[in-house]
Amino acid sequence: MNKQLSFLGLVACLLFCRQSLAELTVEVTKGQAEAIPIAIVPFSTPEAAAASFDVAQLVSSDLARSGRFKTTDRKDMIEQPHTGAGISFDDWRRLSNDYIVVGQVQPAGPDRFDITFELYNVLTRQRLLGYQFSSNKPGLRVASHQVADMVFEKILGIRGAFATRIAYIAVLGSLPHKDYRLIVSDADGENPHVVMQSNEPLMSPSWSPDGQSLAYVSFEDRLPSVYVQVLRTGERRRVSAHAGVNQAPSWSPDGKKLALTLSTRDGNLDIYVMDLATQALTRITDDPGIDTEPQWAKDGQSLYFTSDRAGGPQIYRVGIQGGDKPRRLTFQGSYNARPRISPDESQLAFVTQEDGAYRIASMDLRGHGEVQVLTKGHFDVSPSYAPNGAVIIYASRDRGRGVLALVSADGRVQERLVSSEGELQEPAWAPF
């Protein structure tokens, strides 16, 4: 049953400028009543102090943070077994644990560690998972997220997204000397790297479907341009610098095209599709209103977008082959904008205005288009789905400061990623 997984290749090999950055911490602001009780017992660790990385702690905080698990406090553990053979199931059952994870970290050569873990159902005493893999020291963090992913998927049947990454914009400094940064970090906000830094605005990061590159808008020449940057090499290419607006890049599912917003000489914003190899443009919309914020449908044949052609901004869908009139999708309220689809395209997340506040809402795309407002803030914008579709990350405000926040796709679990400095904006969750 044991499976060898090498994490060497997964160890963050992002080569961009490393810069010390205040890391994010997580606060669960609204949990779920029926969270599953699970104990993540501290892993045995080698005496070498160099390996003193607490794998179990990270697994535990990942699972707790999802809002779907209630993790047992270490001080309530009467014993700390490291293998299945050492588990006294009756005791753990009395502590009302449904599941238990035990494991070890063992040295396996210079800067090499073997991580072994097992997941048991406390009631049936059945072993549900047993894995061993190896990692170097910097890889232990990724490895821990992988353990959490496997436990999450085994118990809930949903692929975990703890070992994924996010991109976002951080704005530091104060007027008139602002420092804009495009940052890529782990999904929990740890391990941040500055991808791009500018004293003019950076906007709208969009991941390539292979997770290797980001498209974004930079005003570095005091004019907007769309850039594509390869994360591993830092190689950067300006792909759109037309007169007027160059905005809102969105990568097509096949990775070959960008949808983006350009303007005519008299300032009319419309949506175009650019072939990345040739930079040839196809105009998709042609309306005197503002058409922007395109997002590809899963089949790569149509786009969701925002348009105020009917007055206020509303969300529409249009085919990229031409011929069809855009179809309006949102009708409730006077402001619905910036659509993002869930990975299986069953849901559409967007920004809606409610009682003068901007909040994240979702629409059921498979049923009758029911709309649910998921958040309660006043400046909740820029939603982006986790690649497993379970969670939406978005930009919010906390005591006047820009923060990132998470809400489960059903609205039941909420949490906040708190940074010690800067205004955080426009999170974009990377693909698996």
Binding site: S174, L175, P176, H177, P201, M203, S204, F219, R222, L223, P224, A243, G244, V245, Q247, A248, T261, S263, D266, G267, L269, I290, T292, E293, T306, D308, P313, Y335, A337, R338, V351, Y358, F379, V381, S382, R397, G400, R401, S420, E421, Q425, E426
Partner: protein
């Protein structure tokens, strides 16, 4: 954390101060005499701040947001004038703009979700139109901005719409299309920070920037 909080409170106080000063300045918009005295005051403040460099010829985009003599303008080495009080920029080389006249006003403010130019800014548009038609070599960049509310990319559209409204108004007055360009920063380049109407009102704007 505490330090950050304190810093932002200080900043806010500054903004409130700027807001009040701006309203004050607005109220006595056409009072030339007092305008002159403010101009002198600002120039004096700049001198006191030890600002050694020649005053800027090309106005920075956030003109109208900076309290002259503050630490920031010292670092900047240039004086940023309050709207209507741009006398500190005496002898602006850009088309010989009259430093104390309406031409010194280079920011047009808008109502929430609107791109119509309000009557009180008509004379500003007319003055710049005359300046541009009289000096066909001049080029003017119109920078559209919005307040922070709403989605970022849609706000880029609204900022562009505002810049275009000013562009059209100038062209109606005979300004050549080739003299004008637009850019929209949406909500990305606020003039002042803060999430209340006082701050928003100052961020919904088009800045007129003469370029070489």
């Amino acid at each position: 954390m505490g330090a950050v909080l304190r810093a932002s409170q200080t900043k806010y106080t500054n903004q409130v101060f700027v807001g009040r000063l701006r309203r004050y300045v607005n109220r006595m918009e056409m009072n030339m005499k007092r305008m002159m005295s403010i101009a002198l005051l600002l120039a004096g403040a700049a001198l006191l701040a030890g600002c050694p460099k020649k005053h800027t010829v090309i106005e920075p985009p956030n003109a109208g947001t900076q309290v002259p003599g503050s630490a920031d303008s010292e670092q900047n080495g240039s004086t940023r004038a309050l709207e209507g009080g741009a006398g500190a920029e005496g002898g602006n080389a850009m088309g010989g703009a009259n430093a104390t006249g309406v031409l010194a006003r280079k920011v047009i403010y808008f109502d929430f979700d609107k791109s119509e130019i309000k009557p009180e800014f008509t004379e500003v548009v007319l003055a710049h139109a005359r300046n541009l038609t009289g000096h066909p070599g001049l080029k003017l960049k119109l920078e559209g901005n919005t307040d922070e509310r709403g989605t970022r990319e849609y706000n880029i559209g609204l900022g562009e719409r505002r810049a275009q409204a000013v562009r059209r108004a100038l062209m109606l007055q005979g300004v050549a299309e080739s003299q004008l360009s637009t850019v929209s920063f949406g909500a990305e380049r606020p003039a002042v920070e803060g999430d209340d109407e006082a701050a928003w009102a100052q961020n919904r704007r088009v800045e007129l920037v003469y370029t070489p």
